[in-house]
Symmetry: C2
Subunit: 196 residues, 2 copies
DNA sequence: ATAATTTTTCGACTTAAAGTCGAAAAATGT
DNA sequence: ACATTTTTCGACTTTAAGTCGAAAAATTAT
């Protein structure tokens, strides 16, 4: 009853490491149980399927990142800095192999899609709150904030996640962001350093 | 030498039908060869792998759609109609089961991602040409057209592909499109009917 | 034509990996 | 100390992709 929960966390950690370093598709359940030193049956006592494991791994990642991002929200800093803070929270930690490196590999489509979806799901409400604040302060001017924030995240994901992007891409993205949120030209220039 | 090419096309057709109706993941190579009445070895004589087959199927789809879209390009019609024409070309044919229905199913992530990528790859240059034309005519006003077109496609894919979207979503998308391309408010209203 | 060569086809076999199951062992409760 | 619940075990099943060497069919050369 208690032991179980610890074991499950342990397995999620191991799966996390393996998924990140070798990719989801290249990690077999046998790899995980070998690493953990347990039997097949034990694994399936804790996880319905390999895919459910992936979901739990991603949930765990996002919870951590959302927590970091959330603490920024109530700080007494300008909206620009809050935005920067939230984005940074969701940037992959360089500790071990970056998520990026594995994520962009063609074989990891499933993992990539799931991470992206969950990331948007968790980041949209957080960022929306900040933009809302910015609207009140007069920095931005628009409605339908969650929709617009989502669009920006989707774009940035597509533009920057695959590594190969130019200065030009950043410039366009900044321009688009300002136009989407109704900000004065130049307001979002601080994004440049954040991305590059 | 000649027979081979016919057989390959036949197999691509069969794979296409099966992938569309049951989904990629739920279609086994055995399903395909049974349907075609051939042996395993024959299949692998034509395709390196199941995934390569998927790629060839998607290429085939896109070639057809790009051809339809291309014919719109040189027509003597207003840019708005050209845009509508191109978008329509890439809309799934309702002949058999729609691509949508299968594509959005959670198990078909790989297929979904591949279709999306290929669709963007083929549609961006076509649409960009039209927008370029629109800029010359003064309907639009922006640079970095391919980047912007890509962004719009990425957004529309995210917003509308999964079926559940509201009037509001459409309105926001239209607004964003106009702002991205530097068009006068209302210019892109014709998109509403196209999407709904 | 027929022999030589190339293309196409065959299907049994291999490999890899996910997932099942019933029963044993360990932990927990009474 | 006995009963119940939780956890663990690993052999077994299933499913599906992919291999391979050899036969059959089609092409080309002589």
């Amino acid at each position: 009853m208690r032991k179980g929960e610890r074991r499950k966390q342990e397995l999620i950690q191991i799966a996390y490491r393996l998924f990140i370093s070798r990719g989801y598709d290249n990690t077999s359940v046998d790899d995980i149980i070998e690493e953990a030193g347990i039997a097949k049956g034990t694994y399936y006592y804790y996880f319905e399927s390999k895919e459910k494991t992936l979901e739990e791994v991603i949930d765990m990642m996002m919870e951590q990142e959302a927590e970091a991002a959330g603490s920024v929200l109530n700080a007494d800093i300008p909206v620009e800095q809050k935005i920067a803070g939230i984005i940074t929270s969701f940037q992959p930690t360089q500790k071990e192999e970056t998520i990026e490196g594995v994520l962009m590999r063609p074989e990891n489509t499933v993992m990539h899609a799931k991470v992206k979806q969950k990331l948007i799901e968790t980041a949209v409400p957080l960022l929306s709150e900040v933009i809302e604040e910015g609207v009140k302060e007069g920095v931005f001017s628009c409605d339908d904030i969650p929709q617009r924030v989502r669009m920006l995240l989707v774009i940035s994901n597509d533009t920057f996640d695959e590594g190969r992007f130019s200065e030009r891409d950043i410039a366009v993205f900044i321009d688009v962001t300002e136009k989407l949120l109704g900000a004065k030209p130049g307001t979002m220039n601080f994004l440049r350093e954040l991305i590059g």
